[in-house]
Symmetry: C2
Subunit: 274 residues, 2 copies
C-alpha cells in the first residue's frame, strides 16, 4: 500500500501549518506519511499549481492526501479547498469565531507579522542569540548579571541547544556554565556563580544516554566511559540538591519541552511576545 | 478600557498554542492583549485551576478572555471549555475530521511526541546545532563538504541566527562564511568556497538597517559607518550576481521566514520530519 501524502500549505513560512499538522498526526499511531511543505503560496495561480500537485498525489495513491493549510486570503484558500484531499485550514476554522468575539473583521491579509513590532522581536532574538553565544562555555567574558537564567550541568547535558532555543524562540537571555571535574571535586558552587544563585537551573540526563552522546564525540575516551559519566552525574545531582537548584532530566525531553519547562519553573518573561 | 487577556493553555509546551494564537491575532489590527501561557496542564484538577485563573481575568476586565488551547485529553478539555472565555481548541476542531479520514480513533493522549522517533529528531537537531557552531565564522576547522547549505554575507547580515534556526528547527546542517573586506576587495569567490558553489546562499540587508545593527555593536566605528556599510553591501551583491548565487534581503524578514525561504529555494530536505 502506498504511503499517504501530507501537504503543509501556507502563504507564509509553513511553520504554523507544520506545527499544527505534526501535533495532530502524532495522535494517530501506525500511520505513515510522506510530507511536502509548500510555503509562500500567495496567489490564486500559485494555489492552482498546488491543487495540481495534490491531485497528482491523490491519483498515485489509494489514500487521499491530507492538507494542513494556513491561508489567510479567501480566494487563495477557496482554490486549495477544491483539491482532492482532506483540507484542514486553520484560518477557516478559527477566524470566524474570533471576528465575532472581537467584533471586528480580520485583515484577511497574509504577511501580517511584519512591521515595527516584528523588527523589535527580530532584534530581541538576535541579541539573545549573541548573548547565548557569548556566554556559552563558562570561559572568557561572562555576563551572568545580565542573564535571565544560567543553566548548569555536566558536558553534553543539553545546555547549549537549550540556551540557543530560548534565545531564538523567546528572546530570553540564557547563559550556561559547564560543571567540570574540578567544580564537582570542589563540591560547592563555583565562585563566579555565587552572586547569581536564583538564576541557576540544572540539567541532568540518564547515564546510558549521556555515555552514548559522549561516545559519538570522543569514542573510547575516559570522558565517554560509564564510570566517569555516572560519577559526574551523581556529583552534579548532589550539588543541585545541596544548593536547592531546580533541575530537569532532559533524557526524554525535546528541546522545546526543556525550554518551556525552564520558562515555567523560573517564571521567566518571554522577551518576544504578541 | 482594560486590556483583553489571551491565554495559551496546553498539555505540552504551549508552543503550538502560541504559534496558532499569534498567527490568528495578527489578523486583527489595533487590538491589544496581555498574554499568559499555561503549559503542562495534564489533569482535571490543573484544568480547574486554569479555569479559576481565566474567570478571574474575565471579572477584572470588561472584555472576555480568549483561550487558545491544545488539549488532547477529553475530560481536561471539557473543564477548560467551561471557562468564561472564547475557547478555541485546536484538537477539538481538527481531530474529528482526521479520525474520519484515517478511519481510526486518535490516541487522545498527551505527550505523544516522545519515543524513538523523537530521540532521533533530538539527536539530529543537537548534531546540527553543533555543526552550525563549529562552522560559524569561516575560520578554524570547516566542513563545507558536510554542509547542506553555506550562507555567505557581510558581517551582521543574519547568517549566524539563521544557521542556528535551521539547525534547531529542521536539523539542517548549515555553515556560514562571512565576506570580509579582503574577500570583497579580491572580488572573486574565496578559494575555500569554490568546491561548494551549489551550496552557497547569500544574505543581504538594507544599508540603513545594517548601519543601525553595527552601530549598536561598535558605536562610532568605521565598521558601523554608512559609507563602509554601503560599500560592503554593494560589493557583496555584485559578487552574488557575478557568481549566480541566489540571495535574500533579510531586512523585512523574520528568522523563520529567512530559514523557510532558504529551504524552499535550495530545495533542502529537512532532517527532522514526521
Amino acid at each position: 500500500m502506498s504511503k499517504r501524502t501530507v501537504f503543509f500549505v501556507s502563504d507564509q513560512t509553513g511553520v504554523t501549518a507544520e506545527t499544527m499538522g505534526h501535533s495532530l498526526l502524532t495522535q494517530f499511531d501506525g500511520a505513515e506519511y510522506q510530507s511536502v511543505t509548500l510555503p509562500f503560496i500567495a496567489t490564486v495561480s500559485q494555489a492552482a499549481e498546488v491543487v495540481q500537485r495534490i491531485d497528482l498525489a491523490a491519483r498515485e495513491s489509494s489514500l487521499r492526501p491530507i492538507v494542513f493549510a494556513t491561508l489567510v486570503d479567501d480566494p487563495v484558500r477557496a482554490v486549495v479547498q477544491q483539491a482532492n484531499a482532506l483540507v484542514l485550514d486553520f484560518f477557516a476554522a478559527f477566524l470566524g469565531p474570533l471576528e465575532a468575539e472581537l467584533a471586528m473583521p480580520s485583515a484577511h491579509a497574509s504577511g501580517r507579522a511584519h512591521g515595527m513590532a516584528d523588527l523589535a522581536a527580530y532584534t530581541a532574538r538576535i541579541n539573545a542569540t549573541n548573548f547565548a553565544l557569548a556566554n556559552d562555555d563558562g570561559t572568557g567574558a561572562r555576563d551572568y548579571g545580565g542573564a535571565d537564567v544560567v543553566l548548569i550541568g555536566v558536558s553534553r547535558s543539553g545546555k547549549t541547544p537549550t540556551c540557543l532555543y530560548l534565545a531564538l524562540q523567546y528572546g530570553v537571555l540564557a547563559a550556561n556554565y559547564p560543571l567540570a571535574q574540578e567544580d564537582l571535586d570542589a563540591g560547592g558552587l563555583p565562585a563566579v556563580l555565587a552572586p547569581h544563585r536564583k538564576k541557576l537551573f540544572g540539567l541532568t540526563i540518564r547515564p546510558d544516554r549521556l555515555q552514548q552522546i559522549r561516545q559519538e564525540r570522543r569514542p573510547g575516551s575516559r570522558y565517554a566511559s560509564l564510570p566517569q559519566v555516572e560519577f559526574e552525574l551523581r556529583e552534579a545531582l548532589a550539588l543541585f540538591a545541596r544548593l536547592g537548584v531546580p533541575y530537569l532530566d532532559t533524557t526524554e525531553c525535546s528541546i522545546e519541552e526543556i525550554a518551556s519547562r525552564i520558562l515555567d519553573r523560573q517564571r521567566l518573561q518571554r522577551r518576544v511576545r504578541l
